[in-house]
């Protein structure tokens, strides 16, 4: 085999060399640290092999936070490069790679895993279950996501990042116009983590439908669980399209097929259609759970039940249906004529109706409440006015004719940041602050939290509002530079200042985690916020079996009913509890998939075949394994409950 070291190298950029060195140093640091403190065994037993939904959730969130900083640095580099006309900070190629990975990472490796992480931690608790339906599959999902993300991340230093935009339109993304391996990484990294996401979808649908505590009818489920159920239905319908599209892309790039090429019957717009048939529902995959998170938080801190529960559920269902019939609004300008554009305009604008219903329901949840401004509540409240700006500009973009002027401009960039940051990012931060004491047994510091909040909220608007105006001035997205005569300079500079402010806000947020871990008082009871739903009915931190006794649900907001209406929740005596045993195979599967992906990226066929066989072997080993888990005896459960303060005994 012709082994060519040259193709692994990425040349010429001091920034990339710097990244290489820092990656090497951090890796060495981690290995040395684990060895010195003799933590390898702990890491393996407690984390890498875990099937506990709470730990998997925590790992998802950790990975997402790391990716937030990776994607955030990309964002800062982009805003710096465009802060003034004719900047020389990045060259065109590097800029193209940076905005491509920024988009990919923020959507697929930050927002979505953060949400899946919260889902993992919270949903089984909210429905009174001991775990998800398929705990080992859950571990497989996580490790596939994780190694998919890592595969994309090493592209930066090994071989070159994808550079055709996160939507990777053909024929630009074909070998002819993107000859580096960057888009091979794209097809394989997304494929691997996408398979993981698809399995999460199946897992959570089954979990929510089959594992609810007795008495928890569908219409008694907490709103976050509802949003997660609907989201996972979207995942199960949307992700197969991505799987197929990425497979076709991989064939085109690695094996010379011609699905999307310019000649021999290839159709470039077929890729755009497939991509957005998945890609549009994808944005609702990150937005709908956010709606669920806000519903929980706003109700809790208004001390009221959620207003219009039924219409909230109905509007999410309608949004999920509509999300599948609006994809062509991403290319109104393809020339498909008035009829088609009209249909997609109307279906797109229709989404504003159920979304409006939700906004008003939240506003009326606040009415007659007693609103306390905690950090999670601040993010939830800031969401309403900012997201509404994103929403109304979405309606403006939905008008096909007007979109001929906005398409591909900064106006669009401003719109989707106004939707996705308040919609997804503020939500996961709010959820993070809200559920943090549940998982770790202590709250994050409120004062530092509010500092971070104000930095983030104000800087967000400074960073993104100018982009609306830049769009109307004619500045298009993905331009790595522009001339001074365009007049784009001043607003871009303001935007860059905002980006810096956002970065400071996120640093304060992380500092808060550090500070609170060291200094915040422990031993909260399980319910620090006087909350309403079941996850607060168990101890903090949560014992591995979640609930010593499975709760009996008699109404919505079951925990609130127990506390304030004196409805008993735990009636049965404690018995032995069945638990799944840990397994290292999902982790190994992730590693093997990583190597399979890596070798395919570089068309190294023999190692790829070996890795492919490895995948099959691990899968076979998992399929034929006989492991029925184990029981925690009743007396041990009672002992643990006593130690934790015994709320349920």
């Amino acid at each position: 085999m012709n082994f060519d070291l040259e193709k692994f190298k990425v040349h010429g950029e001091p920034l990339i060399y710097g990244a290489m060195i820092s990656i090497a140093l951090v890796s060495i640091g981690i290995v040395v640290g684990l060895t010195v403190f003799k933590k390898w065994g702990w890491l393996w037993r407690e984390w890498l092999t875990t099937v506990d939904h709470k730990r998997i959730g925590v790992m998802y969130i950790l990975a997402a936070l790391l990716m937030l900083f990776r994607g955030g640095i990309d964002a800062l580099m982009m805003r710096l490069q465009t802060a003034a006309p004719e900047m020389k900070f990045l060259d065109a190629q590097h800029y193209n790679e940076v905005f491509t990975t920024h988009g990919l990472i923020m959507i697929l490796f930050m927002a979505m895993p953060f949400i899946i992480g919260l889902m993992n931690v919270v949903v089984p608790l909210q429905i009174g279950a001991r775990d998800v339906a398929f705990p080992r599959l859950n571990a497989v999902s996580f490790w596939l996501f994780f190694f998919g993300a890592m595969l994309l991340n090493i592209s930066f230093v090994v071989g070159g990042s994808p550079d055709a935009g996160w939507s990777a339109y053909f024929p630009l993304a074909s070998n002819q116009f993107s000859p580096t391996v960057g888009n091979n990484y794209y097809s394989l990294a997304l494929q691997i983590s996408g398979i993981g996401t698809l399995m999460t979808g199946v897992n959570f649908i089954v979990t929510i439908l089959k594992m609810r505590a007795p008495g928890m009818k569908l219409m008694r489920m907490p709103m976050f669980t509802w949003s997660v159920l609907i989201t996972n239905v979207i995942i199960v319908f949307a992700f197969p399209v991505l799987t197929v599209a990425l497979a076709l892309m991989m064939f085109d790039r690695l094996f010379g097929s011609q699905f999307f090429t310019m000649a021999n019957g290839g159709m470039d717009m077929l890729w755009a259609n497939l991509f957005w048939v998945w890609g549009h529902p994808e944005v609702y995959i990150v937005i709908l759970p956010a709606f669920g998170i806000y519903s929980e938080i706003i109700a809790t801190f208004s001390k009221k039940n959620l207003y219009g529960y039924t219409s909230m559920v109905a509007s999410m269902l309608i949004i999920s249906l509509l999300s599948f019939i609006v994809w062509a609004h991403h290319f109104y300008t393809m020339g498909q004529g008035v009829m088609v554009n009209g249909f997609f305009s109307i279906s797109t604008m229709a989404i504003a109706v159920p979304t409006g219903v939700k906004i008003f329901n939240w506003l009326f949840t606040l009415r007659k409440g007693r609103i306390s401004f905690t950090t999670p509540m601040l993010y939830s409240l800031a969401f309403i006015p900012i997201f509404t700006i994103g929403g109304v500009t979405g309606v403006m973009l939905a008008m096909a004719s007007a979109d001929y002027q906005y398409h591909n401009t900064m106006f669009l960039v401003a719109h989707f940041h106004y939707v996705l940051i308040p919609g997804a990012v503020f939500a996961v931060i709010a959820g993070f602050h809200y559920w943090f004491p549940k998982v770790f047994g202590f709250r994050l510091n409120e004062r530092i939290g509010k500092h971070a909040f104000w930095w983030i909220i104000i800087s967000f608007n400074v960073a993104f509002f100018p982009l609306f105006i830049l769009g109307l001035m004619g500045m298009t997205r993905r331009m790595y530079t522009y001339s001074a005569e365009t007049g784009f300079g001043p607003l871009n500079m303001i935007s860059f200042a905002g980006a810096l402010g956002l970065a400071i806000g996120f640093v304060i947020l992380v500092y808060n985690i550090y500070w609170s871990t060291r200094y915040m008082p422990r031993d909260e009871n399980g319910d620090p916020w006087d909350a309403r739903t079941l996850e607060w009915a168990t101890h903090s931190p949560i014992p591995e079996y979640n609930f010593a006794v499975v709760p009996k649900v008699k109404s919505r907001d079951a925990f609130w009913a127990m506390k304030h209406d004196k409805q008993p929740l735990f009636e049965e005596p404690i018995t032995k509890i069945h638990m799944p045993s840990n397994t290292g195979k999902p982790f190994v599967l992730g590693v093997v998939f990583f190597f399979l992906g890596f070798f395919l990226v570089f068309s190294m066929w023999i190692p790829a075949i070996v890795a492919g066989v490895g995948v099959l072997i691990v899968l076979a080993a998992m399929s034929f394994e006989r492991d029925h888990g184990f029981y925690i005896p009743a007396d041990k459960v009672i002992k643990t409950e006593k130690k934790l303060g015994g709320g349920t005994v």
Partner: protein, 338 residues
């Protein structure tokens, strides 16, 4: 308190919008299509400001009135399931707004997809605009000339741009004259523009197409009919012919400056077929032999930009060398009568 962010944003927007729309290209139209779009945008902004106002007022009332304070310490908020009338209201009113905007959208989309109102009695002048990494080729079949990276046309004359690409998807946009449309390798799309002011307008590709994308701009100059005729005469008298070899070398070069030729590439490299039957416009002068059926064959003739050193054409025969132009030969006469 949390209103600060958006209020600040609104403040910036008013501050920047009020001093005049002249720096805001999209709201400074120079032709009927852009004017329609500008009016649509302003209408939608006003409608949406109305929606925002309602949400913001309610929001402020809720936060000020119902916040936790010392005076309502022991207050226990009521349990409320919802209210059928209130919920119906905030379903019905948005439906009315969306219906209104839908009508506006369909009407205005129809308006800008066709020859603008007031110019329907004129036969549009055809200009083929094709993109290749990273430049724009403008072919004038009626005049038999071709330019690169600039396009001239007479003022107050409808121009039908026919768009396609020799490479990645690009999007053809002259914001002051109208909205954009994609130029793709496997179909031709159409854009009708009219300029009502003489002058230079910036046009560019807005769809990311690789390294040189940021520089992929061109000048669109709208000139008086006399000036335009003079320009055509000059081009025909002085500019060289566009040979196939020259065209190949143009495609193979990433960037070029402005160039002018006294013949077009359409004879040896015809555009791809028409878009599918969705196109409801009248293109009767676009002949059948360019229709969908030959779409695939066309793509083979239709060259892709040469990779690095060698052009892809080198090994390919030229099946339709010197075949007739795809538009009607009478076109030139029409122009003279104008």
């Amino acid at each position: 308190m949390n209103k600060k962010g958006p209020l600040y944003a609104l403040f910036i927007s008013l501050f920047l919008l009020l001093p005049g729309c002249s720096s805001i290209t999209v709201l400074n139209p120079k032709g009927p299509a852009a004017k329609t779009l500008s009016d649509t945008i302003i209408l939608s902004i006003l409608t949406m400001l109305g929606v925002l106002a309602v949400v913001y007022i309610l929001y402020i009332i809720m936060l000020v009135k119902y916040r936790a304070k010392k005076s309502n310490e022991g207050y226990i908020p009521p349990h409320e399931e919802g209210n059928i009338w209130l919920e119906t209201t905030w379903i019905a009113i948005p439906i009315i707004i969306v219906a209104f905007l839908s009508v506006v959208t369909v009407k205005t989309t129809n308006a800008v997809e066709n020859v603008p109102e007031g110019y329907k009695d004129q036969k549009p002048m055809v200009i083929y605009a094709s993109s290749s990494n990273w430049k724009w080729h403008f072919s004038y079949p009626e005049e038999g000339i071709e330019t690169v990276n600039y396009v001239n046309f007479p003022v107050n004359r409808p121009v039908e741009f026919r768009l396609y690409s020799f490479g990645p998807i690009s999007s053809f946009w002259i914001p002051q004259l109208g909205g954009q449309k994609y130029a793709m390798s496997d179909m031709t799309t159409y854009l009708n523009l009219v300029s009502e002011t003489q002058g230079d307008f910036l046009g560019r590709n807005t769809n990311f197409s690789g390294k040189g994308y940021a520089q992929m701009e061109f000048t669109a100059r709208s000139m008086s009919a006399e000036e335009y005729d003079q320009w055509i005469k000059d081009v025909k008298a002085t500019a060289p012919k566009l040979t196939e070899d020259k065209f190949k070398s143009l495609l193979a070069t990433a960037h070029v400056g402005q160039e002018t030729f006294s013949s077009t590439h359409l004879s040896f490299s015809p555009p791809p077929g028409e878009h599918s039957e969705h196109m409801d416009m009248d293109h009767s002068n676009m002949e059948m032999d360019n229709g969908n059926m030959e779409h695939q064959e066309n793509k083979d003739i239709h060259p892709s930009p040469a990779p690095e050193k060698q052009s892809e054409f080198d090994s390919q025969p030229n099946p339709e060398l010197n075949s007739p132009l795809p538009s009607s030969p009478a076109a030139e006469a029409t122009h003279q009568s104008h």
